[in-house]
Structures are given as structure tokens and as C-alpha cells.
Symmetry: C2
Subunit: 202 residues, 2 copies
DNA sequence: CCTACCGATCGGTAGG
DNA sequence: CCTACCGATCGGTAGG
């Protein structure tokens, strides 16, 4: 069970390419030539282009889990963890500033009007992410950190700002976009925060 | 100068397809077969695929101008016009619920990490749109309808919510997304509104 | 607007 | 993992 093998190299490259151009425009041929391999060599690791797309999604999921979700899970449940998650993601958007767009923003938009197994997988993962935001909001209300509100509505707004932070920065070559998203989320959470809730540290 | 000719039929179809799948996956062959024409017949109207993409963008611009921007321009300058524009766009997102995604949301995300003439055209148009939002915000402040704020920051937030209203509804099959966007923008503008500014009619 | 074609590239397979 | 293929489709052209 080697993790640095050829399959991982292929997935790293596919993840990198899909973050910029999406999963539909991935081609086995260009992936192979970028890696100095033959088409059949790449193809054989997955069996079909769709299997490669699904494997790339799973790879992206493990990267996000490791780099964004897991660190923020060390913060206390409720408002601190919600805010830590937003800071982690917007900071991640700032860091990847030189190597292409955000995988999930790109792919979620690519598949929102499509159908098929790849779209269904993307939707399931994004739904789980929205559920996470809503659960953290509900916990924050239950813990008396946020005044009661509609978790689905607030999660929609937070996700809108996070997406825009990972997208508008690219379209307008504006490196301040993630910070704008973070500031807007901060203000929104701060106005819903109860007087004795913990501060939102920047 | 006939406006209902073959070229318009091609552009209508290309606009429809690109709203769902983007401009990169447009193919002259599938466009031709959808329209009952030959590939060369479609190709001849534009001369190149890139010219077809650019013509489709111009077509989309005239549709948006007619259906979204022009009606809201009849509202008074400043806050009423800004709010009318947001209502017009989110209402449009609700209406197109059955025939594919929003062209600009799809295309802006498709090209945010790409380069080339098509991307440059998309960026220029989206920048002009952001400028419109910022100018309406500045006017509202100047007219004493909004308390002073950073127009670029508020425009970022409004655009984030508008985009999400046109995207999350598709990804999650949730027809309430445009209304969520409208409600969030309404609340944000209402909290910045001065006491004697005109009401934001729903 | 059409038919008939061009070279390039697509995903995928055979055989090793 | 490779070479050598397959049929299909890509954008584009010639000629009418």
C-alpha cells in the first residue's frame, strides 16, 4: 500500500487541473503527457474517464478534510468551530492564490445544471458540507452563543460569501476577495452573537 | 436586417446550452444537429468557434439588458434602483427555473481561472456589472439613503448572494434559493438604510 | 446554406 | 506500465 505511487501522482495532477478547468475538460491524453506517461498507462489505473473523475473527487475530499475541516474541528463546538471553519477556508483561498482556483467552487458550479453519477456525487458532498454549516449554527443557538435564527438561511448566506471569496478573486484578479468574505461573515455572525458568547477572534 | 434569421436561431440555442454547460463545451456539431443544420452552415455564420463564443456573450448581454437591467433603470437612482435590480435578477432566477442555469453565473465561474480573449470579455462585462452595483451604492450614500460604507465591500456581498441564488438552487434542486438571496440582500440594505430613506418594497 | 473532406484528438481496447 | 490500434467527434476548409 504505497501512497506516493503513480496513481497518487495522477490524482494530484488531476486535482490541480480540475481546480482550474473543471472535471469535464480533464482528458486522459493531456494528463498522460503532463506526467510523461502513456494514455493507456493513465487509463489503466481507473478503467474509465468517469472513474478517474470520481477518484479525483475523493482525492479532493481527503485534501479538504485534512487541510480545512480537521484543523477547525479542534475548536470548541458551536460558534467558535463555525468561525474557525470559515477562517480556515478563506485562508486556504488566500494561500492557493498562485496555483489555480478552488476545486469545490469550480466543480459545484460546473455540475449544478448537469446530471449523472459525477453530478450526484458532487451534490451529495456539497449537501453534506451545507449540513455541517447548519449543524454548527444550530449548536451555536443551542449553546446560547447565537440568537435564534433560521439555520438554512444563515448557512446559505455564509456559503454564498465563501464561494464568492474563492471565485471573485480569480475573475477580477483581486487578492482581497477572501478577506472580504471573511469580513462579511464576521460582521454577520457578530450581529447575531449573544452578549456573553465567546469573541470571534480574527 | 432580419432579426429572426438563422443566425439568431443559432445564438438562442447557444445561449440556452451555455447557460447550462458553459461556453467551452459548446460544439458546432451538436449545435448544428439540434438545429437541423450542417456543421458548415453553423460555422459559416461566425468563422470560428471563438467568434461563436463571443457572439453568444454579446447575445446574452442584450438579453440581460432587456430583461433585467432596463426595467430596473426605471426606478429612481440610488437605493430604489439598486433594490429593483436585485429584485429583477433574483426574480429572473426564479423564472428560468425550468430551462437551465443562469448564463453569467455559469460563464463567470467557467472562466475565472482561464485566460484568453473569451475570458477577457467575460471579465470586462462582469467588472462593468460590479461597477454598476458600486455606483448605485455610492449614489444611495450621496443621496442620504444609505449610511456611509465601503461600496466595493457591499457590492461584493450583494454579488455573492445574487450568484448563490442563481447557483445553489440548481445544485440542491432548491427553488427557494433566489428568495433566500433576496431576503439576505433586503436585510443587509435595510440595516444600512437611513431613517428617512424610501422603504424597500418587496 | 450544402456535401465531402482534412488532420488532430477523444475515450477506450488488444496484446504484451 | 508500454505500443499500436479502434470508431467517433472535434474545429475547420474546399468547392459549389
Amino acid at each position: 500500500m504505497e501512497t506516493g505511487g503513480a496513481k497518487q501522482r495522477i490524482l494530484d495532477r488531476a486535482y490541480y487541473a480540475a481546480s482550474q478547468y473543471g472535471l469535464e475538460s480533464l482528458t486522459i491524453g493531456s494528463l498522460a503527457s503532463n506526467l510523461g506517461m502513456s494514455k493507456a498507462g493513465v487509463h489503466g489505473h481507473f478503467g474509465s474517464k468517469q472513474a478517474l473523475q470520481l477518484a479525483t473527487i475523493r482525492h479532493a475530499l481527503s485534501v479538504s478534510q485534512r487541510d480545512v475541516v480537521a484543523p477547525s474541528d479542534r475548536a470548541p463546538d458551536g460558534l467558535p468551530r463555525l468561525w474557525a471553519l470559515c477562517v480556515a477556508l478563506t485562508s486556504y483561498h488566500e494561500e492557493i492564490g498562485l496555483h489555480g482556483g478552488d476545486f469545490w467552487v469550480t466543480v459545484a458550479n460546473e455540475y449544478d445544471s448537469r446530471s449523472g453519477p459525477v453530478r450526484d456525487t458532487v451534490e451529495a458532498i456539497m449537501s453534506r458540507w451545507m449540513r455541517r454549516l447548519e449543524d454548527l449554527i444550530s449548536a451555536a443557538v443551542r449553546l446560547g452563543q447565537l440568537t435564534p435564527c433560521d439555520p438554512a438561511q444563515l448557512a446559505f448566506e455564509i456559503q454564498a460569501l465563501l464561494d464568492a471569496g474563492g471565485h471573485q478573486g480569480w475573475l477580477y484578479h483581486d487578492p482581497k476577495a477572501p478577506a472580504r468574505a471573511r469580513a462579511a461573515i464576521h460582521r454577520r455572525l457578530d450581529e447575531l452573537r449573544t452578549p456573553d458568547a465567546p469573541d470571534l477572534t480574527e
